[in-house]
C-alpha cells in the first residue's frame, strides 16, 4: 500500500511539474523566441525602450494575426543586466528550444559566436556585434542587419567630410567610446581611414565606473580641441557625455554619435542645450506610420505594453519594433520556403539569410520610412542598408539627411581579413562553402 502511495505521489509530482513547466517546452504550435534582455542595472535606461518595442511587435502579431501564419510567437526575456557572464547563463538556459538567440551586447555576442556552429542556433544582433559577422561565408549562423558598426563609422566620416574624405587631412577626430568590446569596435576601421586620409584619430575610453563622471575625458577634449567628436556610448555614458559636452561648451554641431548614442531619454537630460547633436541611425521614428496605430490599438490600449508615457515616438522604442519585424520576416520567409509553419532554427537561419526588406515590403507592413531597406544573402549577413543622420532639436530627434551608404569598397576587404583572422584563431572553423561571391 505504501509503495502504491509513493508511486501515486511521485506521478502527481511529475504531472504537476510538467503542468508548471514553461509553455514553450510543451507547446507544439508556437515558436520560442528568447531575448537576452536587460531591463535592470546601469544600462537599463537604454535597454528598456528597445525591449519594449521588441516585445510589443511580437505581442501585436500574436494579438492581431494569431502569430505568424497561425503559429504564435513565444517571446521570452532572460535578464542579463548587460553582463556577459549572466548573458551566457541566459543563453544556456534558453537555447534548448530556441529558434534564434538575440544576445543584445557585443560582449555576449562574441562569447556566443564560437558556439553557433555547434549549437546551430542563428544569432540575430541587429546593428551590433562584431562587424565582420557580415561575412556569411565565415559566420554562417550570425546576422547583424541592417548596418554594422563599420558601416556606421564610414557613414559618419563621409558625412562630416561632406563626401570628400581628403578634406579630413590634418584634422583631428576624437572617438569617445565605452571601454568595452562594443566601444572599441570601430577603432580598426577608423585607424585605417586615418592612415589613408591623414587625419588624427584620438580614441578616448570611458570606463563603466566613469560613465557618470566624464570630466577627465572632456578636459582632454578641451585640451586637444578635436574638429569632431564621435561617440560610441551606451547606457548612462550617453547622458554623461552630452551633459559634459554642454558644460565644456563643445560645439554640438561637431559632436556625432553612433545609433546607440541617439536615444531620446539620454538627450532629454540636457534638453535644449543639446540641440544640434546628431547621430547616424538606421531607423527613425515615424509617429503616423500605420503600424504604430496598430500597436496602439492592439497592444498599448489593451494594456499589454510596458511602455512609459510619451515613449511611443522614441527612436529606441520604434527601433525595437523594427528589430522584431526583421525576425518575424525571417520566420515568415522560412515558413514560405519550407512550407512549414513550425520552423526549425536551421530554417530560420535560412530566412535571415534571405531577408528582403524592400520599400514595397515596408509599405505592406505599414513601416515605410521607419527603417532603411536592406537585403541579406548567403555571403552578406548585414545587408548594409546604410542609414540617416538624425538631429536632436531640443525635444526629439528629426531626420536631417538623405539616405547614406557606407564606403563598402573600403570596408569589405577589411571585413574579409578580420573574418579570416577570426576563423584562423578559432580553427578548425567551418566555412560556409555554399555561399557564392
Amino acid at each position: 500500500m505504501k509503495r502504491l502511495m509513493k508511486a501515486a505521489v511521485a506521478t502527481t509530482a511529475i504531472l504537476a511539474a510538467a503542468a508548471f513547466t514553461a509553455p514553450h517546452l510543451l507547446a507544439q504550435d508556437s515558436l520560442y523566441v528568447p531575448n537576452l534582455s536587460y531591463r535592470t542595472g546601469p544600462f537599463a535606461a537604454t535597454g528598456t525602450p528597445l525591449m519594449n518595442g521588441q516585445k510589443d511587435y511580437m505581442t501585436l502579431l500574436n494579438e492581431r494575426d494569431g502569430g505568424i501564419n497561425g503559429v504564435r510567437i513565444d517571446y521570452d526575456e532572460c535578464e542579463t543586466g548587460y553582463n556577459t557572464e549572466r548573458g551566457m547563463e541566459c543563453y544556456e538556459a534558453t537555447r534548448a528550444n530556441a529558434v534564434v538567440t538575440q544576445p543584445w551586447s557585443t560582449g555576449i555576442t562574441l562569447q556566443v559566436l564560437p558556439r553557433t556552429n555547434v549549437d546551430q542556433i542563428p544569432v540575430l544582433a541587429p546593428g551590433y556585434g562584431f562587424s565582420p559577422m557580415a561575412d556569411g561565408r565565415t559566420f554562417k549562423w550570425a546576422f547583424n542587419p541592417p548596418s554594422s558598426y563599420w558601416d556606421g563609422a564610414s557613414m559618419l566620416l563621409n558625412f562630416v567630410a561632406d563626401g570628400d574624405l581628403s578634406s579630413l587631412e590634418g584634422k583631428k577626430i576624437a572617438l569617445l567610446h565605452l571601454d568595452a568590446p562594443y566601444g572599441r569596435e570601430p577603432i580598426p576601421l577608423l585607424e585605417d581611414y586615418a592612415r589613408e586620409y591623414g587625419f588624427t584619430l584620438l580614441p578616448i575610453p570611458v570606463a563603466v565606473t566613469e560613465m557618470q563622471n566624464q570630466s577627465a575625458q572632456w578636459l582632454q577634449i578641451r585640451r586637444e580641441s578635436p574638429d569632431f567628436v564621435f561617440m560610441w556610448g551606451w547606457g548612462a555614458m550617453n547622458a554623461g557625455a552630452i551633459t559634459e559636452a554642454v558644460r565644456t561648451r563643445y560645439p554640438m554641431d561637431q559632436f556625432f554619435g553612433i545609433w546607440w548614442s541617439g536615444h531620446d531619454g539620454d538627450l532629454a537630460q540636457a534638453g535644449e542645450a543639446a540641440s544640434g547633436y546628431r547621430a547616424v541611425s538606421w531607423n527613425v521614428p515615424v509617429p503616423d506610420a500605420p503600424i504604430m496605430g496598430e500597436i496602439r490599438e492592439h497592444v498599448i490600449d489593451a494594456g499589454l505594453s510596458s511602455i512609459g508615457e510619451n515613449e511611443i515616438d522614441w527612436v529606441f522604442y520604434q527601433r525595437g519594433i523594427t528589430m522584431s519585424m526583421m525576425l518575424a520576416e525571417a520566420i515568415r520567409t522560412a515558413q514560405e520556403e519550407f512550407d512549414e509553419t513550425v520552423v526549425s532554427p536551421e530554417q530560420v537561419r535560412w530566412g535571415l539569410e534571405n531577408l528582403d526588406i524592400s520599400e514595397e515590403r515596408l509599405e505592406e507592413l505599414g513601416m515605410s520610412g521607419m527603417i532603411v531597406p536592406f537585403q541579406t544573402s548567403c555571403a552578406n549577413h548585414t545587408g548594409h542598408g546604410g542609414g540617416w543622420i538624425i538631429e536632436w532639436n531640443g525635444e526629439r530627434f528629426e531626420r536631417v539627411s538623405d539616405h547614406l551608404q557606407a564606403d563598402r569598397d573600403r570596408i569589405t576587404p577589411l571585413e574579409e581579413a578580420e573574418a579570416a583572422k577570426y576563423a584562423e584563431a578559432n580553427a578548425p572553423w567551418p566555412m560556409n562553402d555554399e555561399c557564392e561571391l
Binding site: 542595472g41 528598456t48 565606473t209 557618470q212 577627465a216 547622458a239 551633459t243 558644460r247 531619454g265 539620454d266
Partner: protein, 319 residues
C-alpha cells in the same frame, strides 16, 4: 631617455604652459573628490557604529535620488518632495533595523555584510518596480539649485566654475560640518562614537543599539540623498549611479574605514590626484582610462606604509 622626459619633465612643462587648464583640472578633481568623500562618509558612519560594511550605500544613493524625482513626477512640489524623501529614508532606516539588522545581532560580520547585499538587491527590484528603469532628470531647477557657470580668465586662459558643482561643494561642506558637530556635541553623536569605540561597554551603560542603528542608517540616507542630487544633476538619475559607490572603496582603503576625516581627506586626495594623473600622465602615456585603477594603486602604496590607512585606527590584539 625620452620616456623619462615624458614622465618627469613634460607633464610639469604642460602644467606651467597652461596654468588655467591646471586650475580647471584641480577644480574638477576637487568636485569629484567631494562626491567620493560623501559616498565614503556613508560607509564610514555605518561601519563606525555597527562594524557593518554597508554594500547597499550605492543603491541608497540611487533610491534617495529616485524617490525625490519620482515624488516630483507624481505631482509633489520639489520643495515638499525633499522633506518627503527624507521621511522615506527614515522609514527605510527603521525597516532595515527592524527587519534585517535586529534579527542578525551577534552574528559574524560577514553575515551582516551579506545582509547588506540582500538590501541592495531588494532596493534595486523595489526601486525599478516603483519608479521604472529609465533615466530621469534631476530636478535641480525646481530645487532652486543655481545653473550656469562663472568664467574666470587667469593667465590669459579660462577656468569655468559650474554653479552646480559649487553648490555641491558648499552642500558637502555644510553637511560634513553639521555631522561633525552632531557627532561631537550631541548625546546621540557621542553614543554613536561610544558604540564605535566599544560595543559591549556602550551597551553596558544603556546606549540603545537599535536606536543608534536607525540614526546612523538615516544619516547615511541623508548623505545618499545629497550625493544623489549632486551626481544625478551631472548625468541624470538612473541605476547606473549605483556604480559610483565603487569609487568610494579606494577612498576607504586610503582614509581608513572608521575615520570621518579620513573619508573626507581621502576622497579629496583621490579626486584631485587621479584627475592630475589621468590628464598629465595617463592620457599622453597610456591612452587614458587610468581613473579606473589609479585610486586603488595609490591606496595600495599608502597601505604598504600605513596598513590601517591614513587615519584608521591601528588595531593591536593580544594573543
Amino acid at each position: 631617455m625620452d620616456l623619462l622626459g615624458r614622465i618627469f619633465v613634460k607633464p610639469f612643462q604642460d602644467m606651467a604652459a597652461a596654468p588655467d587648464f591646471l586650475i580647471q583640472v584641480v577644480w574638477e578633481g576637487l568636485v569629484s573628490g567631494t562626491l567620493y568623500a560623501l559616498i565614503a562618509l556613508g560607509f564610514v558612519l555605518i561601519y563606525k557604529s555597527s562594524r557593518i560594511f554597508n554594500f547597499a550605500q550605492g543603491i541608497m544613493v540611487v533610491f534617495a535620488a529616485l524617490t525625490l524625482v519620482g515624488l516630483h513626477q507624481m505631482g509633489v512640489p520639489a520643495l515638499l518632495a525633499l522633506p518627503m524623501t527624507l521621511v522615506v529614508m527614515f522609514f527605510l532606516a527603521v525597516a532595515i533595523e527592524r527587519l534585517v539588522l535586529r534579527p542578525l545581532v551577534n552574528q559574524p560580520d560577514i553575515i551582516l555584510f551579506m545582509a547588506t547585499i540582500g538590501i541592495t538587491l531588494f532596493l534595486i527590484g523595489f526601486g525599478e518596480t516603483i519608479f521604472g528603469g529609465e533615466t530621469k532628470r534631476m530636478i535641480t531647477r525646481e530645487l532652486y539649485i543655481p545653473a550656469g557657470s562663472t568664467i574666470f580668465e587667469p593667465f590669459g586662459g579660462f577656468v569655468a566654475i559650474e554653479h552646480l558643482d559649487l553648490t555641491a561643494l558648499v552642500a558637502a561642506i555644510l553637511l560634513v560640518t553639521s555631522l561633525l558637530v552632531f557627532l561631537n556635541k550631541t548625546r546621540i553623536g557621542r553614543a554613536i562614537r561610544a558604540l564605535g569605540d566599544d560595543h559591549q561597554a556602550a551597551l553596558s551603560v544603556g546606549i540603545s543599539l537599535s536606536m543608534i542603528w536607525v540614526v546612523v542608517w538615516f544619516i547615511a540616507g541623508i548623505i545618499a540623498l545629497v550625493t544623489g542630487i549632486a551626481w544625478g544633476a551631472r548625468a541624470g538619475v538612473s541605476f547606473a549611479l549605483e556604480i559610483i559607490a565603487l569609487k568610494a572603496l579606494p577612498v576607504l582603503l586610503l582614509g581608513g574605514l572608521e575615520s570621518v576625516a579620513g573619508a573626507i581627506i581621502g576622497g579629496l586626495a583621490i579626486g584631485v590626484l587621479e584627475k592630475l594623473f589621468e590628464i598629465y600622465w595617463g592620457q599622453p602615456l597610456m591612452g587614458g582610462g587610468t581613473e579606473t585603477w589609479f585610486a586603488f594603486v595609490f591606496a595600495l602604496i599608502v597601505l604598504l606604509f600605513r596598513p590601517q590607512g591614513l587615519f584608521g585606527e591601528r588595531i593591536i590584539e593580544r594573543v
